[in-house]
């Protein structure tokens, strides 16, 4: 944005949210927009954590216009940032969260976590086909892990996750 490096995160959030507001007025109207998708900690874009004020602003924009807020916690979820999920730092709750990587200690598992009315809107098989695993709740991972890899370490990892039910706490 061409601002000095010392600019506060609140100021940066305000500016970025203004740009988002313009985007919804000029480029894609809220009626034509389904969701806002964000990595709360930008991964391959340079390890940039979103300030809490920005995530809170996104939640407000999503609520105002009836958009879904989707957090991609594939890289920053499951403990890597010191909380189960990075969104816990801000307290902002997404409508959908996608997870992978740390979920199974390196075994290629991924999941989509959301509430029932959203997951029920998807026709059966529409996600599994792409290689992703559609999960209503995290405990499904346990069953899946058991089917795929028996007693390997990913099962133990998932089992621990399942007990905690952490993912469900952080979804609307």
């Amino acid at each position: 944005m061409g601002l000095p490096a010392v600019t506060s995160s609140e100021e940066l959030s305000t500016r970025a949210l203004y740009q988002l507001d313009l985007l919804l007025q000029q480029q894609t109207t809220p009626d034509d927009t389904a969701a806002i998708l964000i990595e709360p900690v930008l991964g391959e874009g340079g390890y940039v954590p979103a300030p809490p004020s920005f995530l809170k602003g996104l939640r407000e924009v999503a609520d105002k216009h009836g958009l879904l807020l989707i957090f991609d916690e594939v890289q920053c979820g499951f403990g890597r940032t010191g909380k189960y999920f990075f969104c816990e730092y801000s307290g902002v709750v997404p409508d959908i969260m996608v997870v992978a990587k740390g979920i199974a200690n390196g075994f290629p598992l991924s999941g989509i976590i959301s509430r029932k009315d959203i997951m029920d809107a998807q026709a059966p098989g529409t996600i599994v086909r792409t290689g992703l695993i559609s999960l209503r709740f995290l405990n499904s991972i346990y069953c899946l892990g058991r089917n795929l890899c028996g007693k390997c370490c990913s099962l133990r990892c998932c089992s621990g996750m399942r007990r905690c039910h952490e993912g469900r706490k952080h979804i609307r």
Binding site: A5, G46, Q75, C76, G106, G160
Partner: protein
């Protein structure tokens, strides 16, 4: 994760990692070449100064080229596997969860 107190361990190791990176940033010999130290927990990134591109407001002509990948290469030669990320000169430290 609960039994091994992984989240507490991440917080503790994170404090150590960021303390050492900030210390490096205060070192007058390298300070001019470090634009930013950022991240959360054990997702830590260091952005180095770069002599290019010309239109970048943070461009620093006196900085060596390709610092991030050169630092990463040297770390890998010494047994520390780290990667670079983004179009800028960012080197990322990431926890041992496999980044597939």
């Amino acid at each position: 994760m609960k039994e091994e107190n992984i989240l507490d361990n991440v917080q503790a190791r994170s404090a150590e990692l960021f303390a050492s990176l900030e210390q490096l940033r205060r070192d007058p010999a390298v300070a001019p070449f470090i634009l930013d130290v950022r991240g959360a927990g054990l997702m830590a990134g260091v952005e180095f100064a770069s002599p290019t591109p010309a239109s970048d407001v943070f461009r620093f002509q006196g900085a060596p080229a390709n610092l991030a990948s050169r630092v990463a290469k040297r770390c890998q030669e010494n047994g520390l596997f780290i990667l670079t990320t983004s179009v800028y000169q960012v080197r990322m430290f990431s926890s041992a969860f496999l980044n597939i």
